[in-house]
Amino acid sequence: MTHFSALSLLKNALTGNKNWAPQWPDSQPKAEYDVIIVGAGGHGLGAAYYLAKEHGITNVAVIDKGWLGGGNTGRNTTIIRSNYLYDESARLYDHALDLWDGLSQDLNYNVMYSKRGVLMLAHNVHDVQSFKRHIHSNRLNGVDNRWLSAQEAREFCPPLDISPTARFPVLGAALQNRAGTARHDAVAWGYARAAAMRGVDIIQNCPVTAIRRGPDGHVTGVETARGFIGAKKVAVSAAGHTSVVMDTAGVRLPLESYPLQALVSEPVKPVLPCVVMSNTVHAYISQSDKGELVIGSGTDQYTSYSQRGGLPLIEHTVAAICEIFPIFNRMRMLRKWGGIVDVTPDRSAILGKTPVPGLYVNCGWGTGGFKATPGAAHMLAWTVAKDEPHAINAPFTLERFGTGRLIDEAAAAAVAH
């Protein structure tokens, strides 16, 4: 496979770009693998990559019911940040942030991680208290996050309306400079290419219908549309579809799948320099490198796998954006789409072992999955390789829902992802 560089780009340009090799082969399933990962999103492909790169486990297959990167990896609003409240979350997401930085070089694939800063707006006294709590906690955890006055927020993001008479005035904002965005498809493709280079099989359009267990209860493999595939270990990283797959192994999860919608505007010249989030009015916005305003919405109220979502939510989301950025009122919506997010009761992920020997799960990322990608992948690989969680993902167990030891970012701060 060609090493990517300005030089290779030039060489190929001169030869009419005829000599580029496939970035990953379309693999046919082998009879058995050491590890099968269900779900070829950023998390699953990344886990395969780290298994190969850091744990020397290369007899690995990543299996997906559709095309790789076709789930939430390719449907999210690409926001990356780590300024979470609880130590557990902050460590996990900050670990991801450390990996984001340098991921392009590591994968030899430009994922366009852009540290443009994420601005979270405070609209009332409760927001201020909550954000201050985050900022102080982050500071003592070594996580970058600082408080800006409304005026400073406007200087950082000029289109922002900070008029005190607004229905939801901006009282200030929390800013994480290191945070930003990345090119979502490139993350999946980069991991796929890098994993494939290390011998990982990527099997697309091959739905996994069941997880098989032996008499001793240990995992033996998976049933798929292309027949049974053996495996010593199976890791399920299928986002919204995880419940359905895990159920076949007799593992029931505290998980619900909700439709999440997002939309983009027509492309315009650069106008929005950073990512802006307002949890109070439910609006998340950034501008893509193509010039589109990328806007995230909330989830619909009912669980669904339909990937449709309703018009009222879109109306509210756009209204919220125009409340914060009135100048965008005459911009046009180009495209809206729906994803399926898997949500846990405490809005934190489940990443670790399951009651079934040899079966591992990575799910419940809700709307926060993309930003965690390298971290979740790295931790999942570790947990699968060592059959025990890393200190960073140890708290994110399934057991916590029985004991009540939740990592409740939502309840603690009413801060959505």
Partner: protein
Amino acid sequence: MLLIHCPYCAQTLPELEFTYAGEAHIARPDASSPVSDEEWRNFLFIRTNVKGPHYERWRHSHGCGRFFNAVRDTVSDRFLITYKAGEKRPELSDLLEKSK
């Protein structure tokens, strides 16, 4: 925006009048007698999250105010049936038969 048939109002009305209230037929264990941590966890958190016909609850919050049950296909978002709270859980096979 869904259309929902309220079994109390006997009318099919816009989703905006209704509030989703989670999975149905999850009875609250009587805590006056011992309940295991696992039972309580299941009651609080464990959900089928089924891809397909889903037994769930809605409240006609901007209408008659009643909680009621429904079976909705979470893939198509179509309702197979709605029925009053307390009525017995309709058999899926019958519903699928009817919807044909």
